[in-house]
Amino acid sequence: MLLVPCPVCGPKNAAELTYRGETHSRPDPNQATPEEWRSYLYLRDNPAGWLREGWFCSSGCRTFFTLERNTTTGELREPLLPGNKVAGRPISDGTEP
């Protein structure tokens, strides 16, 4: 079981949240070339390692938030976002709670 730390509700079972997948910044639709737009739509890094991903607390507070998760070990850490005081702070070492 993966415990996902919702910023409002606290740790929740991943099954209670909606997974939104790999996050990328969206190119400006008016400026982007067709190639840039299609890679934004379809192409993914899909790394075996640290992945920045979106989550939606769909059965709770309905907050959208971003996390970093290691896809081979299950470790979690805070993403390097402007709001975070401590960048990349570890949340979980991936072992079963």
């Binding site: 079981m1 993966l2 079972n13 991943a14 099954a15 909606t18 997974y19 997948g21 790999e22 067709p34 190639e35 299609r38 890679s39 739509l41 379809y42 192409l43 993914r44 890094d45 899909n46 790394p47 075996a48 992945l51 991903e53 998760r69 896809t71 081979t72 070990t73 299950g74």
Partner: protein, 431 residues
């Protein structure tokens, strides 16, 4: 045509002779010397990689081929799937493709001289809602147009074919009908891997196990170290040394994006685990393969009597292959709704395999922007069914340098053209 190396032919006569003479069977395939140059390097020693190697040798006479496998042959998706084969998909492209696969599976035991235990027992896809029933009619009509034996049947007929199913209306999702596909069935997936490995080895293909690919060597590309679009592949770096090769085929599942990124190619793939489970063996009571899209479950009984269950993919992208309690809970509740009689059976074990999901649930096959680097990836939940035909077609694609008609709709460039092949007949899709 290349002459096959003499391999021990499996036959009743041979079995009797060895039984009496106590002569042991020879090794099934060689442990070859590690070469520094091959005409074609295939990454991934599963059904797809081995089938591609076999058809390269058998159909095109290219035998200076290496298959590189990180673990042992068939240790990935080829040994983790639920071994169901069928061709009743929804898109005409998908139907034509899988029907060819079923044809190859039908003659496989004879072609490879190995009993693959193909059991053509019939395949039922249950409909629990009006909209699912409508999709079943749609699929049946698409299938009939392509000459595939597939029809919609009513609950009474479902009950006649599979008496253990509960077709009453007193359940959350009553069975309203089913898509019946008599040619569908199960096959022994390990035997398919071994059969292709043995046949490819007999042609002189080198099968290197425990050989991990660390990098794909490229030249002339836009990216760092000559990788990326516009470049061409010159070889691979492995845990046992470098290999030079003008043609590299990525036949991996789970690690498709990782290998492709070594050549500077980005793929429209995310890797999700799909969990499966098996029960203790009981006497034969389930004569068909039963699939329910709405309940996300498929069940078949093996020759040993175990029930094999599969589900849809987990929603979260990960390379971890552990099982979860959520899966077991959900599986048990759904299976018991379909077959209340098996409530006392115990699960023996559960496992997960990695599925490379694409946005349209169709695979990505053929050349990439890096010359000489081909992909046969993105198989999602149905890579095993497609093993033989994708091997045959990828071999033709690599050997002739031309994309065969059957796999042309599945090229990587379909995503930049916006020409997706939405395969809603896939197991991962709820109807």
């Amino acid at each position: 045509m290349i002459k096959q190396r003499r391999a021990a032919k499996y036959s009743l006569g041979g079995l009797i002779r060895r039984g009496f003479s106590k002569e042991s069977w020879p090794r099934v395939w060689r442990e070859p010397e590690f070469g520094s140059h091959y005409d074609v390097v295939i990454i991934g020693g599963g059904v797809h990689g081995l089938a591609t190697a076999y058809y390269l040798a058998a159909n095109h006479g290219i035998t200076n081929v290496a298959v590189l496998e990180k673990g042992y042959l068939g240790s990935g998706g080829s040994g983790r799937n639920t071994a169901i084969v069928r061709s009743n998909y929804l898109t005409p492209e998908g139907v034509a493709f899988y029907d060819r696969s079923l044809t190859l599976y039908n003659s496989m035991a004879r072609d490879l001289n190995l009993n693959v235990m193909f059991s053509e027992r019939g395949h039922l896809t249950l409909a629990h809602t009006d909209s699912a029933l409508r999709t079943m009619h749609w699929r049946a009509e698409v299938n009939k147009l392509q000459g595939i034996n597939s029809s919609v049947i009513d609950p009474a007929e479902v009950k006649r074919l599979t008496p253990s199913l509960d077709v009453s209306e007193n359940v959350r999702y009553p069975i309203l009908g089913a898509l019946y596909h008599p040619p569908g069935g199960t096959i022994r997936h390990d035997a398919v891997v071994w059969g292709y490995a043995r046949a490819a080895d007999a042609y002189g293909v080198d099968l290197h196990q425990k050989t991990e690919v660390l990098d794909v060597l490229c030249t002339g590309g836009d990216g760092p170290e000559g990788k990326g679009p516009g470049g061409r592949v010159v070889g691979v770096r492995t845990s046992r040394g470098d290999i030079s090769a003008p043609l590299v085929v990525n036949c991996t599942a789970g690690w498709a994006s990782t290998i492709a990124s070594m050549a500077g190619v980005r793929l429209p793939i995310t890797t999700h685990p799909l969990q499966a489970a098996v029960t203790e063996p009981v006497k034969v009571f389930l004569p068909t393969v039963v699939v329910s899209g709405s309940l996300h479950v498929y069940v078949s009984q093996t020759d040993r009597g175990e029930l094999v269950f599969g589900a849809s993919v987990d929603p979260m992208a990960t390379y971890q292959m552990g099982g979860t309690l959520e899966f077991t809970e959900e599986l048990a509740s759904h299976v018991l709704e379909l077959m209340p009689g098996i409530g006392r059976m115990r699960l023996l074990r559960q496992w997960a395999g990695l599925c490379d999901m694409t946005p349209d649930y169709s695979p990505v096959m053929g050349p990439t922007p890096v010359e000489g680097f081909h992909v046969d990836v993105g198989w999602g939940t149905y890579g095993f069914k497609a093993g033989p035909v994708s091997g045959e077609q990828m071999a033709a694609c690599v050997a002739n340098g031309r994309v065969p008609e059957l796999i042309a709709p599945f090229g990587l460039e379909r995503f930049s053209r916006g020409d997706l092949v939405g395969e809603k007949g896939a197991a991962a899709v709820g109807h």
